[in-house]
Assembly symmetry: C3
Homo-oligomer: 293 residues x 3
């Protein structure tokens, strides 16, 4: 899941929106039984899940396909999970994770399904409450099927009783702790949604900040945000080019027994070299993966 730049959510009770998935270039898609689907429609949406997933598979959907179930412990969670596991999906999104037991419970259900011969599914956990953030280091390492964490800024700030700003200093602590926990545990880290759905500039600024913090992708609420996320979480050609130049300079420095050298005004040694290698490597992998599609 480390190449997921865009994770597009759409409500499970809106088949017209879900059926557009195959025309959208998101790296991963989520059929949302939780916040996106009103209480009264959850049961009906659940009942249609298998059919809609079948439709998407028949259309040769590119990108991973997930179902977001309702919060574990809620009236819907068990039925949601059963319906999700009966469909041909790549994994489940579990919102508001707060305790390792929650994740292990889902993990056990997945393990049972695998024991019956199904292919392994992965879990994406939502860190979007005070308890989730406070316990995120333990949560990230609690369940081997966990493949990614996302940070939910709107839910978090609602839980703590604060307010959102464009700069986001009010969530910097929580957003930093979440990406640290995710990456340390080897998981993909997916950044907060931007609810200002018509404000491209805000999405770009927010995505840049997320990428700087270490996130590899972002929650998207609309197809337009998918385009922006794919762009912002890829390396610009000039960045990659600069990385290649830097690596060439490093090979030359090394041949001259120079371990730390001045490259375009910066002192380069171990960490900056590793970063350039990661950048160039990711660009090459993305290019390969695009070529495959």
């Amino acid at each position: 899941m480390n190449l997921v730049r865009s994770l597009l959510f759409a409500p499970a009770n809106q088949p017209d929106r879900l059926k557009k998935f195959p025309r959208i270039a998101a790296d991963a898609f989520v059929i949302d039984l939780e916040d996106g689907t009103p209480e009264a429609d959850k049961a009906a949406a659940r009942a249609q899940l298998n059919e809609i997933v079948g439709f998407l598979r028949a259309q040769a959907l590119r990108g991973l396909l997930f179902v977001r179930i309702n919060e574990t412990g809620s009236a819907h969670a068990e039925a949601d999970l059963r319906a999700a596991l009966a469909a041909d999906i790549d994994g489940v999104v579990v919102p508001k994770i707060e305790a390792p037991a929650q994740l292990r419970e889902i993990g056990a259900a997945l393990a049972l399904r695998e024991a019956l011969g199904a292919r392994p599914l992965s879990i994406v956990g939502g860190v979007e409450s005070m308890r989730g953030v406070a316990h995120v280091l333990a949560l990230a390492e609690s369940e081997p099927r966990l493949g990614a964490l996302y940070f939910g800024a709107e839910d978090y700030i609602t839980d703590i009783g604060g307010q959102r700003t464009p700069e986001g200093l009010e969530v910097l602590y929580a957003r930093s702790q979440t990406v640290l926990a995710a990456k340390m545990a080897g998981l993909a880290a997916l950044d907060q949604a931007v609810v200002e759905i018509r404000d491209d500039q805000r999405f770009r600024a927010d995505a840049a900040c997320g990428r700087e913090l270490g996130y590899g992708g972002k929650i998207c609420l609309l197809p337009r945000q998918v385009e922006l996320a794919n762009e912002m979480f890829s390396s610009a050609p000039e960045e990659v080019e600069r990385g290649r130049r830097l690596l060439a300079a490093a090979r030359e420095a090394d041949a001259n027994s120079v371990g730390a050298f001045d490259f375009e005004g910066r002192m380069i040694d171990g960490p900056l070299l590793k970063r350039a290698r990661a950048l160039v490597g990711l660009a090459d992998r993305v290019a390969d993966s695009s070529a495959e599609k």
Copy 2:
């Protein structure tokens, strides 16, 4: 204590300032035996405590009334606590909390007083040192009588050997961790003082930042700051109005089976709805509580 927007401190050895409390609209008042009162005057101030509290009660002081004792373990703490508990107060403020044992000791003294028939008092703990911040998650859950935490930026930055700035990035980590611990434990969270006492703009900016982080109120050093804090930690009428419009739009969306909808340029679902409900609910409670006074 969740409606405390303003917590006004005044030195225990300045009766003229204390006697003005009944004319000030603070949500809570603190008679300060700690930093506000010079060493040489602490004993005399303590001896007058009961009388001054009696005066304030006779004047029908609105708002909660607290006494801040000196740091536990200091030469004054025990005598301070005894004097405070002999007066008709609503609780004690304990500065520089660092270990659960400190709070449990104060809690035991309060429990003893209650066992003798007095009404329950609450504790406000000051998180204002490196140890306090590092252990704040455990501190917040260590004593059932704890009703609130305040974050003391000046003391914290003195302890760590840093410097204060208007933007406050130097305390963002500590201030974020403290509000998280407080709100997660169900406590009120009170934000740092602004020592620039003639700079309204700075107070407003600092209060806005505190509110965004999740704080519900702020330490005040002067009556003017009380006015500003009450304003900044209340919702502006246009915010409340917008919240009511949003909730109306949500009812309509729900009736149309739409779980996530576009409202004035924002994609609204669970968390933003909850926040609007909290905002409107708080505004209504504040209105009710003002009506009672």
Copy 3:
């Protein structure tokens, strides 16, 4: 080590740069066997260590002298440590500390050397990975010979997969947690390097931010950065003067039984007084220590 404002690194395989140390006013120097020295040159550099240290001592190097060994567990670490301990240094710099056992291992080697009659050496630990940051509170208190921690922003952001910006919000959490752990354990805290080696303004801004957070000094990559660090981590004469005025005003207030007083627009009490005392005290100690040199 609490007076280390500048910690200058130079590659162990570049004797011409190392031999300039005695002409530079850094508070501490590091001969770098790790990132600064290419893999192929590490063994040769190690073999020359004793000689270069001898040269520097013969030149009456002012300031502390350290050797940075390679990461514990790497192929070089043991030989590095042996070579370092055979030379007349003041301590070892251990990069990428992540587990208390790493530090205790180094500590044991130092203890053995002391038992054989050598003078005590100290350890400077590098916090520059996700695990280092996540475990920094435990690391800081794990080994009595640990005298300082430095925060390595470039390595940290490489490890987490993020990107560096001039403002540094992407490392604020990690940088804040590291200084908190160091200062709480009584260690010196040394701030991140600035790799933009020709950008004085950026170095100054970054140093100011570090000082505000509580760091007492900074990693330096070039002699020019040493000058800037020494300046930025000393108090400006007007700051010290202001501190002396404030302390005089406090003595007067105290004589008048006033515990909290208005000084040039700020309400002064305990923490601000302590900070002024620390500022004036540090300025006096720095003056004394300069006089000694």
